[in-house]
C-alpha cells in the first residue's frame, strides 16, 4: 500500500463517517481543546493523589476513575492512553481535569536527552545485556 497517493482531505471537516469513537471522545471532552503536548508529554508521569487528601470525585467519568486507578503507581501518559484506548488528545483533556481538581501529581520527564548522564547510559546497556 502506498503512502504517497493520499489525497488532500478537507482540512476542517473532521467528523468521521463511522464516527463512533470520535463522538464518544467528543462527549468525554465536551469539545474542550486538548491542553497540548507541552503540558502532558508522552513520557510525563502522573501519580494519583490519595482520596484522603479531600478532592471531590463527584463529577468524574469512568475514564477519569480508570486513570486514577492506573496511576496509583507512576504511569506515563503514553501508557495511560494505551490503557484507555483513547486518542492522546482526549487523554490529555482528562488528565488536565484531574490535575485541576488536585487528583493527580504530574512529573515532567527529566531532560536526559541533551546531555545524557554516562551512568544512565551504562545502566541502560547493562540492563539490555542482562535482559537479553
Amino acid at each position: 500500500m502506498s503512502t504517497e497517493d493520499r489525497g488532500e482531505a478537507n482540512a476542517h471537516n473532521w467528523m468521521d463517517q463511522d464516527a463512533g469513537p470520535l463522538v464518544r471522545s467528543f462527549a468525554l471532552t465536551g469539545g474542550r481543546a486538548s491542553p497540548g503536548s507541552e503540558s502532558f508529554e508522552l513520557l510525563t508521569y502522573v501519580v494519583t493523589v490519595p482520596w484522603s487528601s479531600g478532592y471531590s470525585g463527584l463529577h468524574l467519568q469512568p475514564e477519569h476513575l480508570s486513570i486514577l486507578e492506573h496511576a496509583e503507581r507512576p504511569a506515563s501518559v503514553a501508557e495511560i492512553a494505551s490503557h484507555l484506548s483513547r486518542p492522546l488528545g482526549v487523554v490529555r483533556v482528562l488528565l488536565n481535569d484531574l490535575q485541576e481538581m488536585g487528583a493527580i501529581t504530574k512529573y515532567s520527564p527529566t531532560p536526559t536527552a541533551n546531555r545524557p548522564d554516562d551512568r544512565i547510559l551504562q545502566a541502560v546497556i547493562d540492563g539490555l545485556r542482562a535482559a537479553g
Binding site: 503512502t3 488532500e8 508522552l42 486514577l68 492522546l88
Partner: protein, 191 residues
C-alpha cells in the same frame, strides 16, 4: 482508592526514549515488539485534517479523519530505570507527530529494507536536521543481504560517523544489540 499506598514514596523512574524509524513496512513494529517485554502498546492521535490510504478512500468517500497509530514498547531495566521504544508513524507527512516523539529522545534507529533503501531518506533527513543521534540498521528480510553494510552507507550518502549495522527485527537479541550500538554511538558523541 490509593490510601493504603500513602506511606510509600513515589518513585518516578528515569525514562529513556529511543525512536524506531524507517520507511513503510521496514519492520518498526516488529522490532518494538521483539525487544519489549510486553506486546507493543498502542497509542493514537486522531487527525482531523487528515488523509488516508487510497484503499480506504475507495468506497468511503466521505471519510476525512484518520487515526495515526504509534506503537511503543517498554522495558524495565531496573525499578527506577525504564526504556521506551516508540515506532514512528510510517507516513512522512505527519511531521508534527515526529516532533513530539523526538522531543527528549536519546536517539533513533533508522530501519532500512535493503530493497527499498530510498524509503528511509526522509527519516535520515529528519534526524540529521534535528541533530538527533541515529544509526542505520539494515533489516535482514531475506537472510542474505543484497547489499553489504558499506554499500548501504554509500547509497544513503551517510556521514562517516553514522554507524550502519545489520539486524533481524524479529530477533530480540539482535534488536537489543542494535539499541546497545545506538547508545554507544550517543556516548561517543557526548564525550
Amino acid at each position: 482508592m490509593a490510601s493504603e499506598q500513602q506511606a510509600r514514596p513515589v518513585v518516578v523512574p528515569t525514562t529513556v526514549k529511543i525512536l524506531i524509524a524507517g520507511g513503510f513496512g521496514a519492520g518498526k513494529t516488529t522490532m518494538v515488539g521483539s525487544v519489549s517485554e510486553i506486546m507493543p502498546l498502542h497509542t493514537e492521535e486522531v487527525l482531523t485534517s487528515a488523509s488516508m490510504d487510497s484503499d480506504d478512500v475507495s468506497g468511503v468517500e466521505g471519510k476525512t479523519s484518520t487515526t495515526i497509530a504509534m506503537d511503543f514498547g517498554r522495558i524495565y531495566l531496573r525499578d527506577d530505570l525504564v526504556l521506551y521504544l516508540f515506532g514512528t508513524p510510517g507516513q512522512d507527512r505527519f511531521w508534527f507527530l515526529w516532533d513530539e516523539l523526538a522531543l527528549g529522545a536519546l536517539g533513533a534507529v533508522v530501519l532500512a529494507d535493503s530493497r527499498r533503501l530510498a524509503d528511509c531518506f526522509p527519516s535520515i533527513d529528519y534526524f540529521e536536521q534535528r541533530g538527533t543521534p541515529f544509526l542505520v540498521a539494515v533489516n535482514k528480510f531475506h537472510g542474505e543481504e543484497p547489499f553489504g553494510v558499506n554499500a548501504v552507507r554509500t547509497a544513503l550518502n551517510l556521514d562517516p560517523g553514522v554507524p550502519v549495522i545489520s539486524c533481524d527485527a524479529r530477533d530480540s537479541m539482535s534488536g537489543r544489540e542494535v539499541l546497545i550500538s545506538l547508545i554507544e554511538h550517543v556516548r561517543s558523541r557526548v564525550n
